[in-house]
Structure formats: C-alpha cells, structure tokens
C-alpha cells in the first residue's frame, strides 16, 4: 500500500468515524460490560483502553493477514484464539515489566477476551480488508472505545471519590469545606450505565447524522446487507469467483464513484426494483383473458387493395405563379441557405512521405522470418460427410458404409447438409478451425480414404466423414516473396515515419499558422470549396472540425484530425459565407414541384375515397366506372397476419379497419405516404383453430406493472412536498 493511499480520506475515516459517528460504545452499544466494570477510576480505564488498543490493532492485523486462510466455520473460534493469545501475551509482558500496572488491571486484562468490540471488528472488518486498513480500523475503534471509557471514569472517580488518578482534587479545592460530599452511588456499577446513557443522549442530540440514522436504522440494516450481497455477487468485482475488495474499489475509482455513492445508487435501484416486484405480484391475468389476447394477436384477415399513385396526375395538375409566390412567402424560412465555409488545410498521409531506400538483404531476411505466417498456407484437407440428426439412422448408414456402400450415393440421399449433399457430401478443401472442434479432431487424425465413426457436434447433429485428399502446408520461399517483402518493409517504414511526423505536425499546428506548418513539413497547403454544415462532400470529421468553435469563432487551427486512409489533417478557416435568404427565382421550380405534388395527392385522396364509398354503398356501376377511367386493378393478398410483410405497411392498416359482418366487405381508403393512397377491401376476419401462446399475456402484465409503477411514482410526486432552496440556486 503506498503512503499516499494509506492517508487517503477513506482511511482517515477509518480512524475518525469510531470516535464519534460510529462509536463502538455509544453508537453500536458494544463493550458495555467493561465500560461498567472498570470505570470507577481513571487509571485502570486508561490502562484498559491502552490494552484494548494493542490487542485490537494487532488482532485486526493478524486476522486480516489470515483472512483468506481462515475456514469460515471456525472463524469465531480462530478470533477467540487470536484474541486470547494476545491478551495472555499482554498480561505476561505487563507482569514482567510494569508490575504495578498489571496489578492495577488485574482481572480486566482477561476480560478483554470477552469484549464484543474486538470480535465484532475482526468479523466485520478484518475478515474483509487488507492489513493496513485493518490496523487503522483497530486503532480507530480502540480510540473510540477508550475515549468513552476515560470520560465515564473521569466523572465516576471525580464525583464518586473526589479524586482524579488518585489525586484528591476536590479536597485540595476545598469543596468539602462547603459541605459537599462524595456521591457513593457513582462508584456502583449502575451509575456507569447511567453515565454511558447520558453520553449517548448527549451525542445523539448533538449529531444530526445519528438522528437520521436512528430513524432509518431498521431499513438500513436490511438494505445494507442486500446491497452488499448484490455488489458482492456482481462478477465485475470478482477475482477468481471471489469478491475482491481491491478490485471493487479499483473499478469504482475508474468509474469515478466512491464506495459510498455507489452503494447509495445501488440501494436506490434495489428499492425501486423491490417496489416494482411487489407491484408485479399485484397484477394478474385470467386464463380467459389470456386466451382472448392470444386470439387477437393471432387473428388473420383477408385483404385486397388498390394502390393509386400520384405519378399519373403530377403533370396534369396546374400550378399558377400566385400560388408559388404565396407558398414562398409563407414558407420562406424553409428557403434559407445555411452558412458555408471554405477552409485551408494541410494533409499528411503515407503518400506525402518520401519513399524510403531499399532495405538490405539482412533486414529483408529477418522481416521474412518474423512474418513467415504471412507466406504460409496451412495444411488443407478435403472430405465428404453425411450430416444426420437421428443417431439411429446415422448408425445404420455407418454400418452400410463400412460394408462397402457408396459414400457419395448415401450422402446424396440421406445427408441433411443441403449445401453438400448434391456433391456427394463433398466439402472441398478446408483449413483447421473452420469446421468446429469435434469435426477437426476427427478429420485431422484420419488418413486419406478413412471413414470416421459417428462424430457428434455441439449442434446435436452427427457426422460420418470420409477423408478424400490432403494438401500439405506450404511456405513460399524467401526468393518467391522478396518483392512483397520489399513492399512490406517500405510500407512499415513509411507508417513509422508518418507516426513520428504526426507528433511534430500536431505541435506545429498548435503553435504556428497553417502556411508555416505546410512550409516546415514540406507539405502543400490546399483549399476546399465552400461547403455547408453536414455536407457530404468532405469527410464527416473534417466538416465537423471546420464548423467547430475553435475554427470559426476563434480562427485557430483545428486539432489534428485522423481521417480514413491514414491521413492526418489540420485545417483553418479561409472564408465564411453567412446564412442567406434565397430569392424566389432560385427556388421557383422547387416550389412548383412541391405544389404539384400536394395537388396530385389531394386528387388521389379524393379518388380513393369516392371509390371506397361507392363500393361501400353497393354502387357497382359507379365504382367500376371509376376503376376503368383511371385504369386501376385490385391486388389480392389473401389471408394475412399481423406480422405479414406487405407493401405500404398494409398489415398494420388492415388490422385497424372495423371488422365486417360475416360475408360482407369493409371498404376504406387510406393515405399511406406523400405519393400513394389505397383503397382497401377487408373481406374476412378469422381466428386460426390452433392458437399457440404468443407470450402476449406476459407482455400485457409487464406493461400493466409498468403503468402502475409510473402511476405510483406520479402519485408520490404529487403528494410530496417540494421545497426550493432559492438561496442555493
């Protein structure tokens, strides 16, 4: 552990927390027995505090060091052994070197063993943390324990005996002369409890954090454990399947969380989930409802349609000049040309790098050796196979083949591999790792002409394989690939030069003007045409950089952009053409075509509507005339489902049309896009005889739950009092 992290904020909290917010005696209410027993006088209280300090810190470190070795079933026993050993050692050392103190402590050194704080810290902290932290935790908790002990002892000795550390304070102050008498009660154990009680009251009344904790205490206990277990079961925080505290904090750090904020976020998510879970158990769906939903989802409809396109009418409709100028005036905000820029840029690419000199033989030779795999063709094998799902049939075929039946013939008839059975099961040449592990294992162990036993693969199929040919691994010789090697060498060299230069390029571009950059690096400065934001004429990153704040507003060089094709580019603004309202003359043709489209669309909408209504009203003459006039035909789709893939999104439209009575038709018209209108004939609705469970019930339930949750949140929001801290805004 580095020194830096040892004194981190979190580690400091290990020391400071137990002094107040998480005091073992007054907050956790542990170690009360010793707080009662040895607080009659200051001296034993101080010595006890020191002994606990030694025992707890060392025990914490010892247990932390052994934390991965201790079998969990006997861990408490191990704790007790560690503590007891330390206590005995401390007692022995005291007896040998500070005899008076050991006499003073007498039985209470032994009592440390039963001090629940120590066992508690070992179980709660040392078992899960590295020794350094465990040591700090031990110190912190001992201080927290000791300070309370000393405070209690101070009052008990002063008020009970009138002395401090045996020195008769009150007598010297002359308090007795005023008629004061020692309060013998203070010496008795119950008064220790009262004193501790007063301390607890004083501390909690003063510390708002504790008041809050108290209010939430029950929730927090259960929630913390749950959160903890959720976090610990998260694989991201595990090392070899075990939750790792180090990894946990490392990952949190990387994601700029700290454990506290992360745990709060987790606990919020958990409680939301819990509410949702509770809600989900409150919604239900009956069998009949479920059946109805499934029926609806699987419903089929018989549909035919006429599609009317604007194409025929666009040239017929007429648009006059007034309409055009009106449209222009109303919509002139649509006829604005965005700002455009023209930029200077310097480009550095492999092409701009000088051709390197030809390499010597040695370099080429070693390049060849380093890249032999590039010039090696691995071993290939050719095989025929029969693919069978049924193991029984496969075995029958295998026997037939072994008895001399024609492999190709059997493959043609029986193989379920449709891509190869026509060729007698021939798979052609293939390398390793293409056919799957089991297949490879069999094929690459066979000799030409061998026939495999059944080869089972993960997919659940069985193969019978016949090896028909082998192409050995071949490696092209150095001489054969020498030209390629030279090219490879030059490419690598240029690449390297480019990357080296790129750094210089970036720093120059940051400091110098663009022409200086071009000059220094012996590159050409180029200039673009004007282009608009979002233009496709140049690379996307290039356009974005040209319109960036630093280029347009600050007139600086852009960052070095890495474009496709290994190009590096820096650009700077050459000139800016601001936003401009277009003239009517520029857009007249565009508007005319828009207006024509609108008019044509209206025409076909009317037409489709009148066809549909004449059909619906049974006016066959009229409808036939209309159809004949415009030369339209019915397209029949037959029975369709909701999921059927039809032109004009017809399936979803058809399922919104009211259901016709039996034997009747429902005719309707729909506009489906800017250039098409439909006349739709719905001539039947049916439910298939066998409806499978489509899972729609669950979908419905989850949706309902979601709605309930949203409603609940909404209601909670409405009921909540919201206070705005204006002084904080």
């Amino acid at each position: 552990m580095s020194k830096n992290s040892f004194l981190s904020k979190k580690n400091k909290m290990l020391l400071s927390d137990p002094l107040d917010d998480n005091n073992p005696i007054t907050v956790q209410v542990l170690g009360i027995c010793s707080a009662l027993a040895i607080t009659v006088q200051l001296k034993p209280a101080v010595v006890m505090a020191l002994s606990v300090l030694v025992v707890l810190s060392v025990a914490n470190v010892v247990v932390s060091l052994m934390r991965k070795m201790i079998p969990s079933r006997i861990r408490i026993i191990v704790f007790l052994v560690v503590i007891a050993t330390l206590v005995i050692l401390v007692d022995q050392v005291l007896k040998a070197f500070v005899y008076d103190v050991s006499k003073e402590l007498s039985v209470f050194v032994g009592l440390i063993i039963t001090n629940c704080i120590i066992c508690g810290r070992l179980e709660a902290f040392a078992m899960a943390n590295p020794p350094g932290k465990a040591f700090l935790d031990g110190l912190g908790n001992s201080f927290g324990y000791g300070i309370i002990l000393i405070i209690v002892a101070f009052f008990r000795e002063l008020l009970g005996a009138g002395t401090l550390f045996g020195y008769p304070v009150l007598e010297k102050l002359g308090v007795y002369d005023l008629g004061y008498e020692n309060n013998g009660m203070m010496i008795l154990p119950p008064m220790a409890l009262v004193t501790v009680g007063v301390l607890i009251w004083w501390q909690r009344a003063r510390n708002e954090k504790l008041i809050e904790n108290y209010a939430n205490s029950l929730d927090i206990v259960t929630l913390d454990q749950e959160v903890r277990s959720v976090i610990q079961s998260n694989q991201a925080f595990q090392v070899e399947g075990q939750f790792s505290e180090d990894r946990y904090s490392q990952i949190l750090r990387l994601n700029s969380y700290n454990p506290i904020s992360y745990e709060i976020a987790q606990s919020k998510a958990l409680s939301q989930e819990q509410i949702k879970r509770n809600l989900s158990e409150s919604s239900f769906l009956s069998k009949v409802q479920n059946q109805q939903l499934n029926d609806l989802v699987s419903q089929q409809r018989e549909v035919s349609y006429i599609a009317i396109s604007t194409d025929k009418y666009i040239d017929i409709v007429d648009v006059d000049q007034n309409q055009i100028s009106d449209y222009f005036n109303e919509n002139n905000f649509n006829f604005v040309e965005g700002r455009k820029v023209k930029v200077d840029f310097v480009e550095m690419s492999l092409d701009s790098i000088d051709e390197p000199a030809n390499p010597d033989e040695d370099t080429l030779q070693s390049l060849y050796e380093d890249n032999t795999e590039l010039y090696t063709n691995p071993e290939q094998r050719r095989a025929q196979h029969i693919l069978i799902e049924d193991e029984g049939l496969a075995n029958v075929l295998l026997v037939q083949i072994k008895e001399g039946a024609d492999f190709a013939e059997l493959a043609k008839v029986n193989s379920e591999d449709s891509s190869s059975n026509d060729n007698g099961g021939d798979l052609g040449f293939f390398e390793k790792d293409l056919m799957g592990a089991e297949f490879d294992k069999a094929v690459f162990a066979m000799n030409i002409g061998d026939i495999s036993d059944l080869v089972a693969t993960d997919s659940g199929y069985f193969h019978i394989i016949k090896l028909t040919d082998i192409k050995d691994e071949t490696t092209q010789s150095y001489d054969e690939v020498k030209d390629q090697l030279v090219a490879l060498y030059k490419k690598n060299a240029k690449q390297k030069t480019l990357f080296d230069l790129q750094e210089e390029f970036a720093s120059l571009a940051y400091e110098e003007s663009l022409d200086m950059v071009a000059d220094q690096l012996d590159l050409e400065m180029q200039t673009s045409d004007f282009f608009a934001q979002g233009s496709g004429d140049y690379d996307q990153a290039f356009v974005a950089a040209a319109f960036s704040e630093e280029v347009i507003e600050n007139s600086e060089n852009s960052q070095v952009l890495e474009l496709d094709g290994g190009k590096f580019v820096v650009l700077a603004l050459s000139s800016l053409q601001p936003e401009r309202q277009k003239e009517l003359s520029e857009v007249e043709d565009q508007i005319r075509s828009i207006l024509r489209n609108i008019a044509a669309k209206k025409l076909i909408d009317d037409l489709s509507l009148s066809i549909a209504s004449s059909l619906a009203s049974g006016d066959e003459v009229m409808s036939k005339k209309l159809l004949a006039d415009v030369d339209l035909e019915w397209n029949s789709e037959g029975w369709i489902e909701r999921s059927s893939d039809l032109p004009f999104n017809l399936a979803s439209i058809a399922f919104t049309i009211p259901k016709p009575a039996d034997g009747e038709h429902t005719y309707s018209s729909r506009s489906v896009n800017n250039s098409t209108s439909l006349v739709i004939d719905l001539s039947g609705v049916r439910t298939p005889e066998e409806v499978t469970d489509t899972g729609v019930g669950e979908l419905y339930l989850s949706q309902e739950n979601n709605e309930m949750f949203v409603a609940l949140i909404k209601q909670l929001r409405e009921n909540a009092e919201i206070k705005v801290f204006t002084d904080l805004l």
């Binding site: 079998p71 005995i88 022995q92 040998a96 005899y99 008990r156």
Partner: protein, 254 residues
C-alpha cells in the same frame, strides 16, 4: 485451495493450536524470571510495609535485611521447625490439613522494638487476597497491616490495599481477656473506641468479610506459638525481677 473442506478446517485448527501453544510457552518461559523477581520484591516490600517501612520496590532487596532480623517456620504446635520462611508458599500450605501446615513468621526490629509479622492469605470476591499483619512484642497490639489482592473490583474491594483501609488496623488489639477476637472489618463503619474493629469499604462487603475471616483464621493458627512466647516472656520477666532484687540485695548487703 478450498478453505471450507473438513480436512483443511481440521488441519488449520490443529496447526493453529500448536503454534499458539508454542508461542505462549516461549513467552511464559522467557518472561518468568522477570515476573518472579517482581513477586519476590513485592513480598519483601509488603513485609516492610506492614511494620511501617514504606520503600520503593527496587530498594526492597537492600532494605529488607536491615529490619527483618529473624525468619521462622513454625508447625501447628507452635514449635520452630527447619525451613526458609520466605519461601513458604501459603497458597500451598492452606490446602494442607491444619495440623500439617507450616507457618512462616518474620520478626523485625524497628526503633529497637520487636514486631511479629504474620503472613496472611484468604479469599476475596474474585480471587485470593493476602497481606501481612505485624504485632507488637506484646503479641496483642497491632503494629501495622498491609493487604493486597489479585483481582478485586477496582474502586470497591480493591481498595483494601489503600492506606485509608490499612492504617486504622494499627493500635487495635487482637485479644480480649486472653481470647482471640482478631480484628473485624465492619460494614457501615466500626463504632468509636472499638478495639477490635475497623471501617469496611462500601461496595466491597464480600472482600471486607474476606479480610476479617482471613485475619481470624491465620492468627488462630499462631496461638500455640503465641502462648509459648508469652510464657517465655513471663519467665524472662521473672528472671529479670530476680536479677533486680539480687542487685538490690547486694546493695543492701554492701
């Protein structure tokens, strides 16, 4: 390694026990000489303290022989037997039958007067209590007393080793009309003028009673010796009277 396997658990426990046992044994053996020295010095210090000589523990070795002139080991009949009084372990003696116990006795001289120092050992609330009571040469009047304990409650029973408790013993008497009354530690305080009682300690009643019992039992053991010494003293007194008379006679004769 699976730390939850039975075999692992057992071997872990076994190894742990052996390691801990070894560690503690080594510590105990290594520290023993220091601890024994402390106990020895404290005993000397306590013996001196019972006759009003208060010194630092470190000086006990040097000071002790200056005051303690005789160390006797007695048997139950009050006869002097062979042995080193200082090494008699009362803890062991108390377990023996009364008639077989060895009784250590220290005789000191302070301001040219003889004191008989009797080691005490008894039971307190949590564990043993012990001490020394020093009698003046009349074997009745208490010259001084010290007490100590192993693990009495701090602030309560543990206060028996404090001067406010020990000092009042001096000047009390243990006999009344030739009968051993010993000295009682009286709960709630001894009445004024009580020659056989001292104030008890509030909250330390059981320890106080332990002190009373200890005093009575231990002093009782020394009665045979006391009567012997007293009769010897009477003889001495008679002899000295005779001497005086003789001298007077001589004078008269002359």
């Amino acid at each position: 390694m699976d730390v939850n396997k039975n075999s692992y658990t057992f071997s872990f426990a076994a190894i742990m026990v052996v390691v801990v046992a070894a560690l503690l044994s080594i510590a105990a053996i290594a520290l023993k000489p220091f601890q024994s020295k402390n106990v020895l010095l404290e005993k000397k210090q306590n013996i001196l303290s019972s006759v009003g000589i208060n010194i630092d523990r470190e000086d006990a070795d040097v000071q002790y022989p200056l005051y303690v002139k005789q160390e006797l080991v007695l048997n139950a009949n009050g006869e002097i037997v062979d042995g080193i009084a200082f090494d008699v372990d009362l803890q062991k003696e108390l377990k023996k039958d009364k008639n077989l116990q060895l009784l250590p006795l220290f005789i000191s001289e302070v301001d040219e007067k003889k004191q008989y120092i009797i080691p005490l050992r008894g039971k307190g609330l949590w564990g043993p209590i012990w001490g020394f009571i020093a009698l003046e040469d009349d074997l009745n009047k208490v010259f001084g007393a010290v007490f100590d304990h192993k693990g009495e409650t701090p602030g309560l029973g543990a206060e028996i080793n404090r001067p406010f408790f020990e000092d009042p013993f001096a000047g009390k008497t243990i006999f009344e009309d030739g009968e051993l009354i010993s000295i009682k530690v009286i709960k709630g305080g001894a009445p004024k003028g009580d020659m056989h009682g001292v104030d008890g300690i509030s909250g330390g009643t059981i320890t106080s009673d332990g002190v009373s019992d200890m005093l009575y039992e231990r002093l009782n053991m020394y009665l045979p010796y006391f009567s012997k010494v007293k009769s010897e003293m009477d003889n001495d007194l008679n002899i000295s009277k005779t001497d005086t008379l003789l001298t007077l006679n001589d004078i008269i004769i002359k």
